[in-house]
Symmetry: C2
Subunit: 357 residues, 2 copies
């Protein structure tokens, strides 16, 4: 039996979108591939609200996150982490010998714009990474306010992880001045995992050109050049064409729904899950910065989350246990992509039934 | 109109295999994902003829090629190149600050095992890369003989690029002592691009653990550990599940056909294309080492290859122009994956028709 997924990716993919994953192959060097990538780029620019260049990478979101911090740090990176995926960004830096410092909020807390200001004021850093939406804790950072701070430091390249929120929340890349904004197919965009997408500013690209030792597969200069050169919209090696076919199609659906409607749908599903969590359990994270794409519930009843998920599985649903150390202390319900209010209500009803609430 | 592809990847994919690309999503951390990866691993071990660990990477073949040379070179790498993809391996080394020297054969020539011996005898190198099948020139290297040489140097990690030949030719990984053998889905395995696969020896893994600065997304230690740890058969980030569904299914088909039958089918198609090329044009590469998966034809008639391909396109076929500097001087006909003899004969007949041969 297929389980309906309420985990923070992979998400359920609509059957008509899945069908596009099965399209026949074409040459990745021909005109059809160029047209496909160009079409994706133009639509992704709308989703990202940017005029920056759109790049694709046949990797998970981690691939382009590593590109950003490795290729665009010339001096030192300031990594603001609020959970597992912020921590991963720091790990990427150290694993590549990129000088970096990590500023870690406590689990359940957001990044403090004041702290960002203090850190950048030291003049030690020329790149900053921020997590827009952290699925390990269910926090959506105040990136608008952080952006206000970063604007004061014109030499700092601003990288934001929107892997689990782009398409599900309002993230105006150009308005916020994000240089390197990364997302991935298997979250709010509603596609299978296997492709990551970023918008890259001319500034970030120019910085990267001054950085040595960028590697090849994840070298943003290689990728960027293939897109820009003679407006070729090409990819350095052979990309996942299947994901590109499906993404191009799904982007039409997303734009048809309307970005604002899509963000609102995510916000409304989040409200319902939060109200339910407050009634039966408690919310784990800072109420001021709750994520619109995933809710982390504090396990105040001391239930076995593993057992709950097993029982839900028999009913055709799957949620997520807490992440890492938060396992069993919390559980997580994602409300992402093409999930509808009735789906969310169904999984909550199933949880109530299992727990006898 | 869909064009039948005779290019060296992407290849045409059977409709029933494409259909598996459209399978619904599952959690990548659940038991089903573990079982899927384990099943793929066991079948891939048969295709690779190895007991080594099978690793997957959501990248093109280039991803794991970069992993190999970056993660497993402690001292210095000797890159034996016979064309564009060997050259790329050297570029990967330098782009990561990995000490390396390139030994380049002339276009159309194979790697000379004697030269390998001379180079390794210097004692300067602890890793060697060899291209098994080079699609830019249509050469299949004498890896059995090279392996004989490498065996004399027990400290050397032996990396072989079989991206465009694994599944289409006999490559006994354990017999030849290949430590890091890399392939990709979109060539002889007959799947869409987007996933790369390698077999990694315990020796290579142990070497990697001594090498600093391995990065994260392409760090073979990260990937290897996720597979081996408690026999979990997991992947460090979110893998392309769609490719995994399709690969698992296609591997059954490949094993059903029989590896030897599959290799023979490739060899027979190659013979027909070579005979045709000798009759109407000439073969570009050293006759002793012709590839069984792709034939490079010397453009002795001075035709316009671009025009030929355009005319073929109108008839529903696509071949490849020469690679890089060999453009228009050569053209390439791939005979890979699930292509059958009648397909090969059809494209040759179409070329004759277009050129009035």
């Amino acid at each position: 039996m297929h389980k309906k997924l309420f985990i923070p990716g992979p998400v359920d993919v609509r059957p008509d979108v899945l069908e596009k994953m099965a399209a026949p192959m074409i040459s990745h060097r021909g005109k059809a591939a160029t047209n496909l990538q160009k079409s994706i780029s133009e639509k992704m620019q709308k989703v990202f609200q940017t005029k920056n260049t759109i790049v694709l990478s046949t990797t998970s979101g981690s691939g382009l996150m590593e590109s950003a911090i490795r290729c665009c740090t010339a001096k030192r990176a300031a990594v603001f982490s609020i959970g597992a995926f912020g921590d991963r960004w720091y790990k990427m830096a150290t694993a590549n010998g990129v000088p970096a410092d990590k500023f870690r909020a406590e689990d359940g807390q957001a990044t403090d714009p004041k702290q960002v200001d203090e850190v950048l004021a030291t003049g030690k850093y020329d790149l900053i990474t921020v997590t827009h939406n952290e699925t390990s804790v269910g926090i959506m950072n105040p990136v608008a306010e952080i952006a206000e701070v970063v604007r004061k430091y014109p030499d700092v390249i601003f990288c934001v992880d929107t892997v689990s929120s782009m398409g599900g929340a309002d993230i105006p890349v150009d308005k916020w001045g994000i240089d390197f904004c990364i997302t991935s197919t298997q979250k709010c965009l509603g596609l299978p995992p296997g492709l990551s997408i970023a918008s890259v500013s001319e500034r970030a690209f120019q910085r990267a050109q001054t950085v040595p030792n960028r590697g090849l597969y994840l070298d943003i200069v290689e990728i960027y050049n293939k897109v820009k050169k003679d407006d070729k919209y090409q990819y350095p090696s052979t990309p996942s064409l299947s994901h590109m076919f499906a993404l191009d199609y799904q982007l039409d659906r997303i734009l048809e729904e309307g970005l604002e409607n899509r963000w609102n749908r995510h916000a409304e599903m989040a409200e319902v899950v939060r109200a339910w969590a407050r009634k039966h359990f408690a919310l784990f994270s800072d109420e001021r910065y709750l994520s619109n794409t995933l809710t982390t519930v504090k396990n105040t009843r001391g239930i076995s989350v593993a057992d709950l998920n097993k029982a839900l599985g028999e009913r055709g649903f799957e949620i997520s246990n807490g992440y890492g150390d938060l396992k069993e202390k919390t559980f997580r319900i994602a409300h992402m992509a093409d999930a509808q209010m009735e789906d969310v209500k169904a999984v909550l009803a199933a949880i109530e039934e299992v727990l006898g609430l």
